[in-house]
């Protein structure tokens, strides 16, 4: 018998955030692809060009937000998939930890790169 949980609210919140980030990602990802494959072609990419874009605050913050939402959305998606397949107990805690650490690393690395381009927070 399915026992009752009291910490249910998180389930709902994560579900909602998955949808909210998805809605946001639709727009940003489309923009991202469009910009880097159609406006600028892939073989033309240079450090300088990225630098130029990154130095603008709007683009910079958009990209940081993009990174954050994509990471949350992706990692949360993977976590959900695992839980749906029925992992529980220690395995579940381990998955949570590993995924948490991975996203932290990803975000730190991403932010560092962005900062390297922009040469500090573009203000």
């Amino acid at each position: 018998m399915a026992e009752r949980y009291s910490s249910f609210q998180r389930g709902g919140r994560r579900w909602l955030w998955q949808r909210i980030t998805a809605a946001f990602l639709v727009v940003v990802l489309a923009f991202h692809f469009f910009l880097l494959h159609f406006v600028h072609h892939a073989d033309e990419v240079t450090f300088a060009m990225s630098q130029g874009r990154m130095q603008e605050l709007t683009y910079f913050s958009l990209m940081i937000l993009f990174l954050l939402t994509a990471t949350f959305h992706g990692v949360n998606g993977v976590y959900n998939a695992l839980v749906n397949q029925g992992i529980s107990g220690t395995k579940k805690t381990a998955a949570k930890l590993v995924l948490g650490v991975a996203s932290a690393v990803l975000i730190v690395q991403g932010v560092r790169t962005a900062l390297a381009w922009a040469g500090g927070v573009p203000l």
């Binding site: 018998m1 399915a2 026992e3 009752r4 949980y5 910490s7 249910f8 609210q9 389930g11 709902g12 919140r13 994560r14 579900w15 909602l16 839980v83 749906n84 397949q85 029925g86």
Partner: protein, 294 residues
């Protein structure tokens, strides 16, 4: 209860112990001979049926944990003479009554209301009594419901399904019953209409068997139980306080959030209950409910 015979067993005139008279024995032997002939005739008939064009070929899953030849699951072939209007259940009953009386499956109403004969027929969860043979391709493969423990042949253990159904407090509860004797607790037509489909569930378990999430996560309440919960959550007569309590149950980790909108449940439900839709509506109710606390 012990199977030991009590002390006085000897004096007991248990008719079981009485020797059959020789006359009776003779009669019995006679009958036996006749039966042997009859069996032969049956076999011949079956043989003939094989050649007959108008038969349906069934491949039926067999398994019995106790019987030597059946411990290893296997498929048995049956050829059943076809009649217009014949359902898969009719064919199974024919096969059992004519060829092999040990062929085991649940069935009762023959009219899609008792929910006991959901099986995996040609790769889909269906109610056998509601499936016309003529709608199926041959050979017709009949297997027990996937993702449930097989008890014997086509019978699966439903305990887990029942547990899930009963975990959602599947009963009407309200704190505002009318006072007067013989006074009804009114319900608007719209509200009855809203819950109507959800009340049609016959507990057949087809949906649960088709859902991949339920297969992976044993604790997932599953589409049928969630639908049952929907039936009460959306019933205006229960009142707001009860709705709150119900949503708390649904929001547990193995509740509504597990559903990945696979739609298989909706697709197989013999009662055409829009299960996915109901689950999604519950998710939205739950989110709305949580937003209140922010």
């Amino acid at each position: 209860m012990s199977t030991q015979l009590p002390e006085q067993a000897d004096e007991e005139s248990s008719a079981a112990e009485v020797e059959p008279t020789s006359q009776a024995r003779e009669r019995r032997l006679q009958k036996k001979r006749e039966r042997a002939e009859e069996a032969e005739r049956q076999a011949e008939k079956a043989e003939k049926a094989l050649d007959d064009e108008d038969t349906y070929h069934l491949k039926v899953f067999r398994y019995d944990p106790e019987i030597a030849g059946k411990k290893e699951p296997r498929f048995d072939d049956f050829h059943v003479p076809f009649e217009k209007g014949m359902t898969v259940l009719d064919a199974l009953m024919y096969a059992r009554d004519t060829y092999d009386s040990s062929l085991t499956f649940r069935h009762s109403c023959r009219q899609a209301i008792c929910g006991s004969d959901a099986m995996f027929v040609n790769g889909k969860q269906r109610l056998c009594c509601k499936t016309q043979l003529s709608d199926l391709e041959e050979p017709v493969r009949i297997e027990p419901l996937p993702h449930a423990e097989v008890v014997k042949d086509l019978v699966v253990d439903m305990e887990h399904f029942y547990d899930q159904m009963e975990a959602v407090e599947p009963y009407f509860q309200t704190n505002d019953l009318p006072e007067g004797e013989l006074e009804e607790q009114k319900q608007s037509r719209e509200n009855r209409e809203k819950v109507k489909m959800s009340t049609r569930c016959i507990w057949c378990g087809a949906c649960m068997s088709s859902c991949n999430i339920a297969a992976g996560d044993n604790e997932y309440l599953g589409p049928a139980a969630l639908n049952k919960a929907y039936r009460f959550t959306m019933d205006e007569r229960e009142g707001e306080d009860m709705k709150q309590q119900r949503l708390e149950i649904l929001e547990q980790e193995h509740g509504v959030w597990r559903c990945q909108t696979q739609f298989s449940c909706t697709e197989v439900c013999p009662k055409d209950i829009p299960l996915t839709e109901h689950i999604q509506e519950l998710k939205r109710e739950a989110v709305k409910n949580n937003l209140k606390f922010w």
